[in-house]
Structures are given as C-alpha cells and as structure tokens.
C-alpha cells in the first residue's frame, strides 16, 4: 500500500502552494492514485479543471495527510477517475462542461451543469465554441412492468431551491431516484477569474447563502495560505464564533423543518423561533442576520462589542432553556419516531466510499470533522466532541444535529470566555508573483474546500467545492425502497446545497 508521501515523490512539486503540497504527475502516477482511491485507501476531496490540466485533492484518512495531484492535459483528455471511483463521476462531467477536458473511459458522458442554455460551450476553456444542437438529456432507462415515473422540479412545492428529481416507483415504493441538478449554476468560478481579492471574497460568500460565513472562512484561509499572511488572534477567534453561530442557526432550523416534513408542525414552529433568535443575535453582534461579508481575507470586517457579546450570551441561555423540551418531545412522539427511524438509511460503507462529510457522514459511522481532524485555529485550543452514530437513518441525522447544537453552545461559551483583545485584520500588502493556497473548513453541512491561484494579488483561478458533491449522489441510494412520501423527509435530513453544488 502506497502512502501519499510516496506519490508526492513521483511528481514535480509546485512551489508557492500551501499549506499542503501539490505535485504535477504523469499518467502512471495519476492511475496509481486512482487505484488507491478505488480500493478505499485514500479519499477524494475534490476534482477540478483548468484550461489545460486537471487536479485532484486527496486525503489519507490513516495518516491525516492531504495533497493535490495534478495532471497536464495537452491533448485535452486524462484517464477517468470516475471509471474506477464513482464519487468522481459528476465532478468529471462538470470538468468537461466547463473546460472541455475529456475523462477517458468515463462511464457517464452526459453533460451535468450544462443544460445547453448558456449560448457557449466550455465557457472556462481557452477557447469558446458556439454550441451545436445538443440532444435532449437522457435519463436512465427503466425496464419492467408495473412501474411509473414521477418527475418533480425544478420548481417544486416549497420555498426551496430548484432541482429535478425523477422517481421510478412501483406503487408507493421508490425503485430509483435520478437527480438532475445545475439549475442554479451562476458561473461563479468564471466571475472569479481576474477578480480582485475583495470581489472574489464577496462572491465566495454568495455561493451558498446558508453557509456564507463558512465559505468566506474557507476562501479567506485559502487566500491567506497563498499569501503567507497571518491573521490576528482576535479575528481567529471571532471567525470561529461566526461559524458556530451559523451552525446553530442552520441545525435549529433544519430539525424543525425535518419534523415539518413529517407533518409535525409544533416542533417546526418552536425551532423557527429559536433560529430567529440566533439571527437577531447575529444581527446585533455583527450587523447582518446571516453574517455575510464579516469574514474577509486578512481577518474580520466587524468587531464584537459588549452589546453583541451580551446578546449572544442571552441567546445561549434561551436556547439551553427551550431546546431540551423540544428534543424530549421529538423523542417521545411515537408517530414522529415511526416516520424518522429506519427511514432513508445510508450504509456506512457508502458514506466511507464517498467521504461524505457533515451530519450525513457522522450519522453513518464516519467520524471526520474538519475542525477536529485538521484542527485549524482556534479549534486546536477549544474543547469539543464529535458525535458519531451508525444507524444512518433520518433519526440519526436529527440526533447528530441535536448533539452538535450542544457542542456549538459550549464552543461559543468558550470563545466568548477566551476571546483575546487586538486588531481585527492584517493588511494585505502587494504580493507579486504566482501563489496558490487551499483550505478546508467545516461548514454546517460538511467540509468546504477552496483552492485558488493568485497572480500579482488577483485571482487567476478559484475552485470552491461544496460538501454536497459527495452527499447528493447518496440521496439516490438512501431513498431506494422507501415510500415516495418519505422523500421530503430524506431530502430535508440531507439538506444538500443546490446553489453550493451548482456554483
């Protein structure tokens, strides 16, 4: 069994790439990496393209090493990873959509984000072709008697992002779910090219609105890694505070929404109230309910004053007072338990294969949490646990959120107690030359990866990888054998990002 360090010896190391190494390899080394992924020794953290090359971010769960492996594509193609390792399938279809790079042997050559409406082909490639008439999107064929199809979306019932879900059902039971996403693709990585750091940071914070703080956090850390820039202590701690408040708000809202999808509106009403209180405390403390544009490269843009700290402490007291009753109610309501227990089970082996993060992975036996595993500051100085369950059903995903709420309350207390004085940000001086940086931050739904290259202080290429890339496909697996009416429950228990995924 090869270690990542061995693979790193095979290639040409790229200077000015941090904090993890990047090597440019040749096809045999690339194929070796693919084999390690397929055999489950390594996990795929991301796969993205450039006009003439393709990159993979890889992690070794045993040794905790991370690296980026790159392959030049002078002929416009590269050996497919998805052929041997399914988690890469949609990523490779996307690399083709955006850059026109062909993954040789890719079992599913259909476009993914490109719905043939852009008016251009391969928009981020060196050349832009005028598209020819494309064939309509073919969904997977269905064979057999007694089955019908239900097509849902992109505009679907609630106040929710757009996506298409094609169910094949036998009676009430779902035989297959096939997703089609890409409806909210805004071309953000294209807009980032040539953008100044401030504009790029704003765009990063608008990739996925419910994770605006976590995305800004990841983008800023990647930029700081590239620029070799330190962040003042106070800002380091405030960033974690913002991230934990965001986690709290989302988990509270989601628990209510999951119960609502089982028609239990009482918990939804109470959880919405608690979520509202988090947003109002965030507004008092940082001037924006969703805390947008507060984390910036170099530090933070707003300070926490005495009034803000007081509002947050009062919020924590209130949640500690009100939340346990709701948890007890959830646990004691038999009709609700009947819906959530044993529904939408994600097998641990699948969670491991896809390196599914967040509450999805942790409800199916995978203990990875970037705050613990990568211990980026200030989490290396904070005491917290990472709850893990293995049942993998909707109920388990609710309980992980409950436990994480308890952990976040404790983390926020610790941060407020230990928050150091000092400046809020370090100035970003002129930094000539080409520099690359990467960061992984634990957003509320999982690990967000940002990789970027700066040239003379301006973004040349930025890739933002939402945790949902390794969660959406798993939803297709968990709904199989469940009734159609349980889809909203499963979908909400996953709560994948459409906009974050579609980028």
């Amino acid at each position: 069994m090869t270690s990542l360090i061995d693979l790193m010896q095979e290639g040409r190391k790229v200077e000015s790439h941090g904090p993890w190494p990047r090597v440019v390899v040749d096809a045999p080394a690339w194929n070796l990496a693919v084999k390690q992924l397929a055999q489950g020794h390594w996990r795929l953290l991301g796969l993205w393209g450039e006009p003439a090359s393709v990159h993979m971010a890889i992690g070794d769960e045993q040794s905790a090493e991370i690296a980026v492996v790159s392959l030049d594509c002078p002929d416009g193609n590269y050996p497919s990873v998805g052929l041997h390792h399914p988690p890469a399938l949609r990523l490779e279809r996307t690399v083709n959509d955006l850059f026109g790079l062909t993954a040789l042997g890719l079992p599913d050559p259909r476009p993914w984000l490109d719905h043939d409406h852009w008016g251009v082909c391969f928009p981020l490639a060196g050349r832009i072709d005028v598209p020819e008439e494309a064939a309509p999107y073919r969904f997977l064929p269905v064979d057999g008697g007694g089955m019908h199809q239900i097509a849902v979306g992109p505009v679907h019932a609630g106040i929710i992002e757009p996506g298409h879900f094609r169910f094949t059902a036998s009676g009430e039971t779902v035989v297959r779910l096939e997703q089609r996403l890409g409806y909210t693709h805004k071309g953000i990585e294209g807009l980032m090219r040539g953008a100044a750091l401030t504009r790029a940071a704003q765009l990063a914070g608008r990739v996925s609105g419910d994770s605006t703080a976590a995305y800004a956090y990841a983008f800023s850390r990647a930029a700081e890694a590239a620029l070799d820039l330190d962040v003042p202590d106070r800002a380091v701690w405030l960033r974690a505070l913002l991230a934990e408040l965001e986690r709290l708000a989302n988990h509270l809202g989601d628990i209510g929404a999951i119960c609502n999808d089982a028609s239990f509106a009482l918990i939804h009403a109470h959880c919405s109230m608690l979520r509202e209180r988090v947003l109002r405390a965030a507004d008092t403390a940082f001037g924006h309910r969703l805390m947008r544009d507060v984390i910036v490269p170099g530090g933070v843009a707003r300070d926490l004053g005495a009034q803000g700290a007081k509002a947050i402490r009062a919020l924590l007291d209130n949640i500690r007072l009100r939340f346990p009753t709701l948890v007890e109610l959830y646990d004691n309501t038999a009709s609700l338990q009947d819906r959530t227990v044993d529904t939408g089970i994600l097998k641990p082996a699948l969670a491991r294969q896809y390196a599914a993060g967040g509450y999805i992975g942790r409800a199916s036996g995978r203990s990875f949490d970037a705050r613990k595993a990568l211990a980026y500051p200030p989490y290396d100085r904070l005491r917290f646990e990472v709850p893990v369950l293995s049942e993998g059903d909707v109920n388990a995903r609710v309980w992980i959120r409950v436990r994480e709420i308890e952990q976040s309350l404790s983390l926020i207390d610790q941060i407020l107690d230990q928050l150091p004085e000092g400046p809020l940000a370090n100035a970003i001086g002129p930094r000539p030359g080409t520099r690359e940086g990467m960061a992984i931050v634990e957003g509320f739904r999982g690990d967000i990866l940002v990789w970027l290259r700066l040239r003379d202080g301006v973004v040349e290429r930025c890739h933002l990888r939402d945790p949902s890339w390794f969660q959406w496909p798993l939803l297709e697996a968990v709904i199989e054998g469940n009734i159609v009416a349980d889809f909203p429950l499963c979908n909400k228990s996953f709560n994948c990002s459409y906009s974050g995924h579609d980028i």
Partner: protein, 177 residues
C-alpha cells in the same frame, strides 16, 4: 406535547406589531394593481415562491416570514405549492439561463390577475452575478415585475413591508374607484 401547548396558552405571543407598508413600494405599485383584482381577491394573496438561481439566502429569509415573529399569514398572505393556486410570484435570484424556461412556464401557469415581486439584489439586475455567461440578469429581463425588494438578502421586515404595500395597493385602488 400537551405541556408545551398548554404553556403556549399562557405566554405572551411573540408576534410583532405590523409594520407600516413601505412608501417606495407603494409608489412602485401605484399603477400595478387594478380595481377588478381587488374585487375578485378580497384582502388576501396566495404566494408562489420561485428560486430562479439565487444563493438561497433570500429563501432563508422568506422562510422566516412564516415564523411566529413575522407571522405573515395573519395578513392573509400564504404560500402555496402550485403556481396555479397563486396570485403572486415571489422570485429570487439573478435568473440563471438554466432556470429561464422554468420561470417562464411558472409565470404562464399562474392565472390572471397576478403580480410578480422580485426579491433581493440579484433579482433586480443580476446583482453580483451580472455579466456571467450563465446568468440572464434580473427577473424583469424575463417576466414583467411589479415590485422590487432590495437587499442581500432583504430582512424579513423589509419583505413584509413590501408585501403589505402590495395588499394596500389592492385595497386603495378599490377605494379610488
């Protein structure tokens, strides 16, 4: 559960006082809402929300409209599952090219009289995504818009004020006739 419900009977409601309708919205809506509509709809509106490519921030704040603090249903405003049941389309996002057709079909499926409210900076003119190869650029580039509510995202109170202006216009047009 009974205890929780019982306790709620004795606590003061969280629902906040209704804000005044937004002046700017009232002027924008001056020509939009007709007398006939007012007579037919009474003083309530059914809203269908459409995400035409937003980052989801606006959706989060639209969800908040239904919580106990804002309680949008007390004004006769409710969210419906189908455009065929709707009087108002609340549209977010810069309108991605991939959502253009779906938005048009949703608009066409909404029976008259109908109004369109574009929520958020992106929905106004594409916002920070304007100019992208993947984006049309503002809801009004695709369907007629009666009211814009700015913000990134707009706070629920701002949305509420805009929606109340929509109701107000419906009411005062009837009085004027």
């Amino acid at each position: 559960m009974r205890k929780l419900l019982f306790q709620s009977l004795f606590r003061l409601p969280l629902t906040e006082q209704a804000p005044l309708p937004d002046d700017a919205a009232l002027s924008e809506l001056a020509t939009a809402v007709g007398v006939v509509a007012r007579r037919r709809l009474g003083r309530s509106l059914s809203i269908r929300e459409v995400d035409a490519g937003s980052c989801n921030g606006c959706e989060l704040e639209i969800h908040a409209l239904n919580n106990a603090y804002y309680d949008v249903e007390r004004f006769g405003l409710r969210f419906v599952a189908s455009p065929r049941h709707a009087d108002v389309l609340m549209v977010t996002g810069p309108v991605t090219k991939n959502m253009r057709d779906a938005l048009l079909r949703t608009y066409d499926a909404t029976p008259n009289p109908k109004w369109v409210v574009a929520v958020g900076d992106c929905a106004r003119d594409g916002g920070c995504f304007a100019g992208s190869y993947a984006v049309v650029g503002g809801v009004s580039a695709v369907i007629p818009v009666d009211l814009h509510i700015s913000g990134c995202p707009p706070a629920p109170i701002a949305m509420l004020r805009g929606l109340l202006a929509l109701l107000e216009r419906a009411d005062s047009s009837a009085v004027a006739s």
